[in-house]
Amino acid sequence: MIPKPSTIKRHLEAIITGLKYIFVKNRLTLRYPEMVQLLSENYRGMIKYYMDRCISCTLCARICPADAIKMYTVGENKLPGINYMRCIFCGFCVDICPKEALEFTNIHDLAYYTREEQIQKPIEFSKGPPKPIFKKEPMKIVVKLDKSRGLKYERT
């Protein structure tokens, strides 16, 4: 079995490409707890609820495909609460709200200590998503697309 010259060339090409990348200074890893991507404004993250704008139309609860939003009786009104264990972040509730009482935020670090915390009744829901807790203040970065490096992480 004598390898063809083209095979040897292809072996060499593969090895040289591998070697080249040892010296390329590019890493696409985002070291998450240390670096946090600042998501764009139109990201469909956790949902913020403005209780004063709400007209109790129940549209959000009715469109929710995952039964995450439920109406609760608060005083005389019926107001929505959310169950983040079920939420799939489709954002239909935000899009169908006729009074803009629901709004997207760009927070997606969805982690809670207890199960109960994730079922948010209207009052907790209206407080908005909690600020994610990090052990050390993370480096905030934005992702930029780049011609030579693909993704570039820039500090804000």
């Binding site: 696409l28 139109n42 239909f92 006729p98």
Partner: protein, 388 residues
């Protein structure tokens, strides 16, 4: 030949190379004599659940089986639903749908290529594909607001308009990707070990491919120039110039090459889409006027459109509708039967993986045990999508 000569090997579902399914393999030494894929491990009854959901609520639901290719399967469902409702999306929305579908096709193919790479042992191509997939996911996120589960298409249009500066980002991504694909060729496509592993392995002949009903890149690799985008064009595809990639060999390597070339074709399509995209509304007139004028004004500025309240109570006419879409892995068929109520009477989706599954049974026998991952990866099979 006594029965003792054979050894039955059960590969999966808890196996690094099986995915969410089990293969019942009968081995004659190192040669596979019988191969039985045992599906259903991740069956989630999507079709049955859909019968209890309203039409708009099915949009996120149909995405769940094919998480790597959500835009295309979603598009198929919306096309079928629009046929039932008797409405159409405006031209700009059609282009935006095409744009997302092609971005999704690119990252779906990268996903397939990467998984295939790790299955035959090349961790580098796996990491590269998944790293570069991130670029396309980032673009899609810019457009839709979500990374994977876009739920971008709605009956009569799309949810969001092109954001500012999208074209510039897209051209950067394409320029980067075109450079990178050259390195992909050197380290994976032309790698002598890869060619030794994949050439003449898992051959599906042209006649067999047609007989078995294989779809998508796997069919095109067997020499059949069949692409729903050309044969039954939808969205903006009739106005866009692209080629169907066909190869004659029908082996695992040609399937890899078809996917690889289709990434380039998809980038060509995406380029044309952003050039040719017409201006105008992105939601059908009849729904547009149902949105409160105050919100409409705001949406025109931000590009993020609201849904009209009627979406909760979409009641299509009594009847049935079918749609075909070319997804990354092949043709997706959606079939909806409506009885005039807000829930579908029956919903059925035939996913490409379900149709490609049969190829396992007929291509595997005669090959070696080590060829199972090589052929499995080349078919770009995705168990959740077949099980639904």
């Amino acid at each position: 030949m006594s029965e003792d000569k054979f050894m039955q090997v059960l590969i999966g579902p808890q196996h690094p190379g099986s995915g969410h399914m089990r293969f019942i393999v009968k081995m004659d030494g190192d040669i596979i004599s019988e191969f039985e894929p045992d599906i259903g491990y991740v069956h989630r009854a999507v079709e049955k659940i859909a019968e209890s959901k309203r039409y708009i609520q099915i949009v996120p639901l149909v995405e769940r089986p094919i998480l790597a290719d959500t835009a295309n399967i979603n598009l198929g469902y919306i096309l079928a639903l629009e046929r039932l409702l008797g409405i159409d999306a405006p031209p700009r929305a059609q282009y935006l749908r095409t744009l997302l579908a092609e971005i999704n096709r690119i990252h779906s193919h990268l996903y397939g290529l990467g998984i295939h790479g790790i299955m035959i042992g090349s961790s580098t191509i796996f990491m590269w594909c998944f790293a570069d997939r991130e670029i396309w996911i980032e673009l899609a996120q810019e457009l839709t607001g979500a990374r994977i589960t876009y739920s971008y298409m709605i009956p009569g249009g799309v949810r969001r308009d092109l954001p500012n500066g999208f074209n510039e980002k897209l051209s950067k991504a394409i320029a980067y990707m075109e450079e990178r694909l050259k390195d992909y060729e050197k380290i994976f496509i032309n790698n002598p070990v890869v060619t030794a592993r994949l050439i003449d392995v898992g051959i599906i002949k042209k006649d067999d491919a047609i007989k078995l009903g294989i779809v998508g890149p796997n069919l095109r690799a067997s020499g059949v120039a069949y692409d729903v985008r050309k044969i039954e064009p939808y969205c903006a595809y009739p106005e866009i110039d692209f080629d169907i990639i066909v190869r004659k060999e029908g082996d695992a390597y040609s399937r890899v090459l078809v996917r690889f070339e289709e990434i380039k074709q998809s980038m060509k399509i995406v380029k044309q889409v952003v050039e040719k995209i017409p201006s105008g509304p992105i939601i059908n007139e009849s729904y547009l006027k149902l949105i409160p004028p105050k919100l409409r004004e705001k949406a025109e500025q931000t590009g993020i459109w609201k849904m009209p309240a009627i979406f909760i109570n979409l009641k299509p006419r009594k009847g049935e509708a079918i749609s075909r879409v070319e997804a990354g892995r092949g043709e997706v068929t959606h079939y909806i039967v409506s009885d005039g109520s807000p829930n579908p009477y029956r919903f059925r989706v035939v996913t490409p993986s379900f149709r490609n599954l049969i190829a396992f049974k007929y291509t595997m026998p005669g090959h070696r045990l080590a060829d199972i991952p090589a052929i499995y990866g080349s078919l770009d099979y995705f168990p959740p999508s077949a099980d639904r």
